[in-house]
């Protein structure tokens, strides 16, 4: 409209004026020329507009007066608003993707043809699927565990599908599928390695306990059947059987005692009370107990060259006693056992050295596991419950002490409990304890 007012009307007026002054031919010519000029100017503006709209970001809107200027102004304003909105959405998408990558569970979206659409970072660790590399790939071609394809075909399956990670086989993942929208499926992978390890440990533990309790029970019930038969048995035989039975029940009792001790130790984080333990006296007691267990078959020595130790006397006695009785049980008659308490550098070290059978290196890391036996037959003969070292380890952990084992097959073993320095200084306990001087 404005174009007509500002350009066309003056030209028409000029043409009319020329017609009046000269003749109509001149008038037409002037009008035509004028309109032609207008058309050329507008075409050029249009061309530069087209050039600008191709890439509005790079250059500013060219300066124009009139309606062109207005168009440029409006358009660039709208473009700016849109660009800002787009940046905002992109930033949000980025933060969403970051959040998804931070999720510890693997997430994969597959479409109706089982082609991978999207995956987060954990999916790469769990299943080896990484986008964009694997975008569009068919998921069964990448996750090839037998049975997975069938599982994917049955959405509604309540139990998860278990796979060993293709990337690192040591880990186990539970896969679940969740329908997503009309045709897509969301695949969630969860790392269940630790949960399964705990599960296995628990079931082995239960199996071990049952086995250990069953063995003496079988013996006892066998003898009891004999007793029921009566008659044929001499008094001497009867007494011998009773003796064996009481031995087996003692074994069961000590096993149950050890189990109770262990569960108590596990239930609480720290000993109920701590005191200054007189190591001279404790070692003398250990020596006496050791000698009565050995019945004179071993040479046992004790030497105490360290200060008093801060801790729970009953627990320490139990831990050290276990180490001493182990040494006696695994040392053939005539062997030598040395019990020592001394300072080594900053640490207080309690050690039991024997000249016994020794332990092969491959067993050392597993020695403190419950019911772990180096030699299945022998240890039960000697009356162990299989829980002694587990108890020792727990007690030492509660005293922030470390258990070190040196051993050579045929030469003997040394078990060392190393206590931190602050447990050796009576003046300087780490926390205020009202029962300091016990």
């Amino acid at each position: 409209m404005r174009l007509v007012l500002t350009n066309v009307l003056p030209i028409a007026g000029l043409g009319l004026l020329t017609t009046l002054l000269h003749d109509s031919a001149w008038g037409w010519a002037t009008t035509t020329l004028g309109l032609l000029l207008v058309v050329i100017v507008q075409t050029r503006s249009l061309a530069s507009f087209a050039a600008w709209i191709d890439d509005p970001q790079r250059s500013d809107a060219p300066d124009h007066a009139g309606e062109w200027g207005e168009i440029y102004l409006k358009l660039s304003r709208r473009l700016r608003v849109e660009a800002r909105a787009r940046d905002e959405i992109e930033a949000r998408l980025r933060s969403f993707t970051d959040a998804m990558d931070a999720v510890p569970d693997g997430l994969v979206i597959v479409d109706g043809n089982h082609q991978v659409q999207w995956a987060n970072r954990a999916a790469g660790d769990h299943l080896g699927i990484r986008v964009p590399r694997d975008g569009g790939a068919i998921i069964e071609q990448l996750v090839r565990t037998p049975g997975f394809a069938e599982y994917l075909g049955k959405p509604g399956e309540p139990s998860p599908f278990i796979v060993q990670s293709p990337a690192a086989r040591a880990r186990t993942y539970a896969l679940r599928i969740v329908p997503l929208g009309q045709r897509n499926t969301l695949l969630v992978s969860l790392d269940v390695t630790d949960a399964r390890r705990v599960e296995t440990m628990r079931s082995t533990f239960v199996a071990n306990v049952s086995h250990e309790l069953r063995t003496p029970l079988t013996v006892v019930s066998g003898f009891l059947e004999h007793f029921a038969d009566e008659g044929s048995m001499s008094a001497e035989q009867r007494q011998q059987f009773a003796h064996l039975m009481s031995e087996q029940t003692r074994r069961m009792l000590s096993l149950v005692d050890d189990l109770l001790t262990l569960s108590r130790l596990e239930a609480e984080d720290a000993p109920a009370s701590e005191e200054e333990v007189d190591m001279d006296e404790l070692l003398a007691q250990l020596l006496a107990e050791g000698q009565s267990l050995s019945e004179g078959r071993h040479r046992i020595q004790a030497s105490c060259k360290g200060p008093a130790l801060r801790g729970n006397r009953k627990e320490l006695h139990s831990a050290f006693g276990n180490l001493v009785s182990n040494a006696i049980r695994y040392t053939p008659p005539g062997g030598e056992i040395r019990i020592k308490w001394k300072l080594r550098g900053e640490l207080g070290v309690f050690s039991v050295r024997d000249s016994g059978v020794g332990i092969a290196a491959e067993h050392l890391p597993r020695l403190t596991e419950r019911f772990y036996r180096v030699d299945r037959g022998r240890s039960r003969d000697t009356g162990g419950t299989g829980l002694g070292l587990a108890i020792v380890k727990h007690i030492l952990l509660r005293h922030q002490a470390n258990l070190a084992i040196d051993s050579r097959v045929g030469e003997g073993s040394t078990f060392r409990a190393e206590f931190p320095d602050w447990r050796l200084r009576p003046d300087d306990p780490p926390s205020d304890d009202p029962q300091t001087s016990g």
Binding site: I138, E140, Q141, L142, R144, T145, P146, F148, A149
Partner: protein
């Protein structure tokens, strides 16, 4: 060929690829289970591997038939034809690997039943088995992704297995020289190690086929450029 037909064709081709990779997954598990059973002496697992071999064979027959049908009905050309050809070759390799797995399981069973372990179950054999399985997995991944670089890596890894095999051989020879009573046991272990080493070779074949599909270059029986540089 109109659009609908070509789409149908792509689908069939993808299906064959999925099937062979599924078969690969089964074979992968067979190898791993056989090697694990050898180390742990788990008789049940050995029997499982031996029984599952029939399933592997069934896969082979099915995939072969699919390939023949696809060639007859669709007359694929260029890359598609190469893919079908390669798949029918890979099937044979996978089936052989399956045979090796069941052979390992059968040998382990025999060893176990003979009793009397004079030679400790060498952890080297287990390690070698893991290496072979990694190669197999790598070759199948390269087939799934049509990834030439991954395929070349698999081919390069074969050397490590050969080295591990030679190490086992040397070790067993030492045992046999020290005590002739170990010979029969050692021979069985050698068969097992050899089977594992062959798994690696078949995995190499699979990787070579992947390179053939993608590039159209047949690199069988020719030393790849990478290993030429090593002086092999």
């Amino acid at each position: 060929m109109n659009d609908h037909l070509s789409k149908q064709f792509d689908l069939e081709l993808e299906n064959i690829r999925t099937r062979i990779l599924q078969m690969g997954g089964l074979v992968e598990r067979q190898v791993l289970a056989a090697v694990d059973a050898f180390s742990t002496g788990n008789l049940e697992e050995m029997q499982q591997v031996i029984d599952n071999d029939r399933e592997v064979d069934a896969h082979e027959v099915g995939i072969d038939e699919d390939c023949t049908l696809l060639i007859a009905r669709r007359q694929p050309t260029a890359r598609d034809l190469r893919l079908v050809m390669a798949i029918s070759r890979i099937v044979t390799d996978l089936e052989r690997i399956g045979d090796k797995a069941s052979k390992i399981a059968r040998m382990s069973k025999k060893l176990h039943q003979a009793g009397g372990q004079r030679i400790p179950r060498l952890s080297d054999v287990h390690h070698c088995g893991r290496l072979a399985n990694d190669m197999l997995q790598g070759s199948l991944d390269s087939l799934a992704r049509m990834d030439v670089d991954a395929a070349r890596q698999v081919i390069g890894a074969d050397k490590a297995i050969d080295a591990a095999f030679n190490a086992i051989l040397r070790q067993l020879i030492t045992y046999m020289m020290e005590d002739p009573r170990t010979i029969s046991e050692a021979l069985d272990i050698i068969w097992i190690a050899k089977a594992i080493e062959r798994v690696g070779d078949h995995a190499t074949n699979i990787a070579e086929n992947v390179i053939y599909v993608v590039g159209g270059v047949d690199i069988r029986h020719s030393a790849p450029a990478a290993s030429k540089a090593d002086g092999a």
